[in-house]
Symmetry: C2
Subunit: 194 residues, 2 copies
DNA sequence: TTGCGGCGGTGACTGCGGTCACCGCCGCAG
DNA sequence: CTGCGGCGGTGACCGCAGTCACCGCCGCAA
């Protein structure tokens, strides 16, 4: 009935959706259920989201919040190399322990085919900003190669992190994400060191 | 009418599907259309395939055929490093030039959530067999590090190739896959050289 | 020869994601 | 105050992926 619930409706949908996703998984949650639980309507849902998979995109917001929380924990005494590995360890630890696998897989799956926003490629995200500043710093200190633009290093690093998550999803989380990532990432990053 | 079309039906479905995919894209092709074009029925379709996305899985067969065709072209004079890069260049060239982007993206997307076969993880594929033999050879010649099991090297290499394709799809094919892959892969592989 | 089990094959039907025509409140212009 | 345009909100409806109960042929066993 046309209330001024404008901001409220959207967040009611999001929280209802996530509750249901945690309870019964992404695939098994229907939009009708989300709509019912949030006390809204199907039309409202599509007013705020281009599709069901857009809800998965809000995962990247969760990750960015974690990055913001971690930023002040980066000690000046760490090398840029160590900073990157630290961030990766913390984030992947959270993912491995608190994010349901089907939601993560759903997000990486839908990002390839969605009509909505491609969060993984949004270079304005906190994630990319943080990587850029650490990389630039590493170059300034002479730690990272200067013959490759910082943007290229960031891009390659992000590509590698995505690969690790994609692979982990493909394997249904059958191994330790944190451990394997530490191995691969440090090996990969060494190619960018002086 | 219960004919003995058993083998035929399946291949009629596959070829009809691929024709339609090339004509109108994966999303815009309905199973009803595939069924109509192939002169079969919906039930038959689901008798042979667990779902629509299983058709995308047949892409990996195409890739494996290409690998088989390329195997004899590997000269003995090449280092293992060069062989891997050669295979990558040839395959990605084919992908970049002849495979519609939405099909590739569809396959990488569906592999994460499909109930069917996970071809990307099928270690019996020609692809993985070839990688293993080249890698083992490289280790025997002392070219590759021996302190890492061949299987681990193969796994990391495959992870990297997947990452490159995933990224290329995410970016809607906005850059040269072949060129970028050569850069990243050689940098990555160097971490496994002696 | 006959009875039977299973497999290739069929299409009406269901469930869900997504669309669309419509409604009513609110703020603003005259 | 009044008329109007647009935005938040609604739910019946639609299209398509996927299911299911059923059918008829063939080969095998008794």
């Amino acid at each position: 009935m046309g209330k001024k619930n404008n901001r409220n409706t959207r967040s009611r949908i999001v929280s209802a959706a996530w509750k249901l996703f945690y309870e019964q998984g992404y695939e098994d949650t229907t939009i009708d259920e989300i709509v019912e639980r949030s006390g809204t309507s199907k039309g409202s849902f599509y007013h705020y989201f281009p599709g069901k998979d857009a809800l998965l995109g809000t995962l990247s917001t969760l990750f960015d919040e974690k990055y913001e929380e971690l930023t002040p924990k980066l000690a000046d005494s760490m090398t840029s190399f160590q900073k990157l590995l630290f961030l990766n360890r913390e984030l992947f630890f959270m993912i491995e322990n608190t994010v349901p696998l089907d939601l993560l897989a759903g997000m990486y799956s839908s990002q390839l085919v969605t009509k909505g926003e491609k969060h993984l490629m949004d270079y304005n995200r906190v994630y990319y900003r943080l990587l850029r500043s650490i990389t630039a710093e590493g170059q300034a200190k002479g730690e990272f190669r200067a013959d490759i633009p910082a943007n290229e290093i960031v891009r390659a690093y992000a590509l590698c992190e995505r690969a690790l998550l994609y692979d982990w999803c493909l394997c249904d989380g059958n191994y330790s994400l944190v451990q394997y990532s530490a191995q691969i990432l440090s090996l990969f990053l060494k190619g960018f060191l002086n």
